[in-house]
């Protein structure tokens, strides 16, 4: 009975034969490896994102005045709304991570080489779309971070020569970040990019099936355009095994494992935000991007100002062009990572760089600690045995918000150097000059300190040196003032 129904459908659809052909196409035996599961895992998470995304759209309202409260409703009022939001948020993190791992694996296994150049190129676009989904998704979580994140995006876009202002208005849908901005990011996140993703994923998969999965790279087995196709056929036709069930069981296991991992993160950590309301008049906020853009946040803080605009505008273009040209620049030759030291070092260098930037963005040493001046008092040990003038200086030090950028006893900002032993580094004259004129990334305080305050502050700073280590002094003073007087001065400290 069931077979009859099946046959009825297949006489009309005629899909059974091509599906069987795809399922049973022979793959090289050694590709049935746990290293080959990341592509299918990325597809699995993409499908999860489609499903959870549609579920969220049942409640979410893409309006600047309603979006935030509709997310609150999802978190607190709708049954299991929090879980679906958490799945979608964690799914997004997993998707970016898995796509990146997949890309690194493909690169290290030489799978971008002939004849799979176009598969790689389509993959590069899939990566860009994935990142586009991650950013636009962060915007739809219309909270403070989303609002100011859009401002950062607009500020970057505005730096494009000539067209900058027009690009900003096109991106925002008007002169400011408002309702139209959210609506167009909704359209991008829900219609435009997913539509393109579905199309490109289909192309990507089609090529994987037509060209065959990349064989396990063997050191010494060199790719040549003239002979590769025949060699690959040898591997698949003579020594290959059908994809189903020989290789697919590992994909299935890993897919289920990834889904479980997303669900576990969702249950344990819960949904992302929303943080504060997207009200631009609330300025007590320190916006931060989502995890996968943290490295960019760090880079934007650490680039010298003069390099920033060129790096922002030219850098991404060069990276994308480099990725697109890669299969043409190294389309032949060794596939194995064992024989490609530069490839391995490049991956390591990029991974370490991104990892370091992400780590730095976790504690933002470049940002002033806005509340340190009132929240972190000068530690007691720095005040023992000090004179009235020096204590007055410690007060000036706090009140003038020096602590926001300078730490004492490991508390305070890290924007400027820690001052625990500043007296060893700078003489009295240098301290006065630095405080009044600034320089080396420090603002000048001359206008905001009276002479008395400056004197007190510098007197306090001169006490900041480790016990047993003498403070820096200007040797010429001994000559200018006479040795006795100079010694008497340093004895006073």
């Amino acid at each position: 009975m069931i077979e009859q129904i099946g046959q009825w459908f297949d006489r009309r659809l005629q899909l059974a034969a091509p599906i069987r052909e795809v399922a049973e196409h022979p793959v090289p035996r050694n590709t049935a490896s746990w290293w080959y599961v990341f592509g299918s895992a990325a597809l699995t998470v993409f499908l999860l994102q489609l499903v959870t995304g549609i579920l969220l759209a049942l409640i979410y309202v893409p309006s600047a005045s309603e979006a935030w409260s509709s997310l609150q409703a999802l978190n607190h009022d709708v049954t299991l709304g929090w879980f679906i939001r958490a799945m979608h948020g964690w799914g997004s993190n997993f998707m970016v991570a898995i796509v990146l791992i997949h890309m690194v694996q493909v690169f290290l296994f030489g799978a971008h080489k002939f004849p799979r150049e176009l598969t790689w190129i389509v993959g590069v676009f899939l990566l860009l779309m994935t990142l586009g989904m991650a950013f636009s998704g962060q915007v739809l979580r219309f909270d403070q971070d989303a609002y100011w994140g859009l401002g950062i995006g607009a500020s970057i876009a505005s730096r494009v020569p000539i067209a900058g202002p027009a690009i900003v208005k096109l991106m925002l849908g008007g002169p400011i970040i408002a309702g139209a901005t959210l609506s167009r990011f909704f359209a991008l996140h829900v219609f435009v990019i997913p539509g393109m993703l579905i199309g490109f994923v289909t192309l990507h998969l089609l090529m994987v099936v037509k060209l065959g999965i990349n064989e396990w790279p063997m050191p010494g087995r060199v790719v040549k355009r003239t002979t590769y196709i025949n060699e690959y056929h040898e591997l698949t036709k003579k020594a290959g095994a059908p994809f189903v069930p020989y290789a697919i069981w590992k994909d299935l296991f890993f897919a289920a494992f990834v889904l479980l991992a997303v669900a576990a993160c969702a249950v344990y950590f819960g949904p992302f935000g929303p943080t504060g309301k997207p009200d631009p008049t609330i300025i007590q906020t320190a916006p931060k991007p989502d995890y996968f853009f943290l490295w960019l946040y760090a880079l934007l803080s650490l680039l010298p100002p003069s390099l920033e605009t060129p790096a922002l505008l030219i850098g991404p273009v060069l990276v994308i062009i480099g990725l697109l040209l890669l299969p043409f620049l190294s389309g032949e030759g060794e596939k194995s990572w064992r024989r490609r030291p530069i490839a391995v070092l490049t991956v390591l260098l990029i991974a370490i760089t991104l990892g370091t930037f992400t780590h730095l963005a976790g504690y933002t040493p470049w940002s002033p600690h806005m509340n340190a001046w009132s929240g972190a008092p000068v530690p007691d040990e720095f005040l023992h045995g000090t004179t009235a003038l020096q204590r007055q200086g410690a007060l000036v030090f706090q009140v003038k918000q020096c602590r926001n950028c300078h730490s004492l006893g490991d508390q305070g900002g890290q924007r400027g150097p820690a001052l625990d032993s500043v007296a060893v580094r700078l003489t009295q004259d240098q301290l006065i000059r630095q405080v009044i004129q600034g320089g080396g990334n420090m603002p000048a305080y001359g206008k905001n300190l009276t002479p008395a305050e400056t004197t007190a502050l510098v007197a306090f700073l001169e006490t900041l040196h480790p016990q047993g280590q003498t403070p820096a002094r200007d040797a010429s003073r001994d000559v200018a003032l006479g040795e006795d007087q100079a010694q008497r001065q340093s004895a006073q400290r």
């Binding site: 309006s63 600047a64 005045s65 309603e66 609002y147 100011w148 401002g151 950062i152 607009a154 876009a157 505005s158 730096r159 202002p165 208005k169 096109l170 849908g173 008007g174 002169p175 400011i176 408002a178 309702g179 139209a180 901005t181 309301k277 997207p278 009200d279 631009p280 008049t281 300025i283 906020t285 320190a286 946040y297 934007l300 803080s301 680039l303 003069s306 920033e308 605009t309 470049w366 940002s367 806005m370 001046w373 003038k400 918000q401 020096c402 926001n404 924007r415 009044i436 004129q437 600034g438 990334n441 603002p443 000048a444 001359g446 206008k447 905001n448 300190l449 009276t450 002479p451 400056t454």
Partner: protein
């Protein structure tokens, strides 16, 4: 005429059909492109800008810098709170004001004012500005964005309506103050800055940052 060069009746109709579709597509592209680019074209020549009241002068004590808010003049029904905008108002003396956008000139994060040290500090990437808006330190390449100001009938108004971004300073006083130039040259006597450099810089007159 050889057979290959012959155009069949059906072939001609197909080509005409493609041409016809091309013409219709071009005609339809005009409204589509105009719709898509409307947010750009509507704002040409400062059309998004207008004079917005910030409040009576009594709300801004002389010599102080205070946060003020205004409603963006371009509002859509779905905008919610996003059209409420904050700005820093610095009352120098009399009718002389400096009104700064809260958006950092680096990447647009909201800067905070610290009265005691006379600095605006940015929480994102560590930009800092002096009380007159000029750049003090950090990644910004210029001083804070400034709105043109006007005092009418005891009400402080500013010309606003667009998000200030580093690439665009329409309606904002556009000169880039040199990095802390006016602040670095401070005598040890310190205290108050002489009025000359600040007062002539404001209101009506074009700014000069000599």
């Amino acid at each position: 005429m050889s057979d290959e060069n012959k155009i069949s009746r059906r072939g001609l109709f197909m080509k005409l059909g493609i041409l016809f579709n091309g013409l219709v597509a071009t005609a339809l592209a005009v409204p589509i492109v105009r719709f898509l680019s409307s947010s750009v074209t509507q704002g040409r020549a400062g059309a998004y800008l207008s004079w917005v009241p910030l409040g009576p002068l009594s709300e801004f004590p002389e010599g102080e810098t205070r946060l003020a808010t205004f409603r963006n003049p371009n509002v859509m029904p779905t905008d919610g709170k996003t059209v409420d905008t904050a700005c820093w108002v610095r009352h120098l003396a009399g009718d002389q004001f400096q009104v700064f956008a809260v958006n950092c000139a680096h990447l647009g994060c909201p800067v905070r004012w610290f009265q005691q040290s006379g600095l605006f500090m940015c929480p994102c990437h560590g930009g800092a500005y002096y009380q007159d808006g000029s750049r003090a330190s950090g990644p910004p390449e210029r001083g804070l964005f400034e709105y043109p100001t006007r005092v009418r009938d005891g009400i402080l108004t500013i010309q606003a309506g667009e998000l200030p971004t580093p690439g665009e300073a329409i309606a904002l006083l556009n000169e880039k103050p040199p990095c802390g130039a006016r602040n670095a040259l401070v005598s040890i006597e310190g205290g108050k800055l002489s009025a000359s450099s600040e007062t002539n810089a404001l209101l009506g007159k074009k700014k000069t940052w000599a």
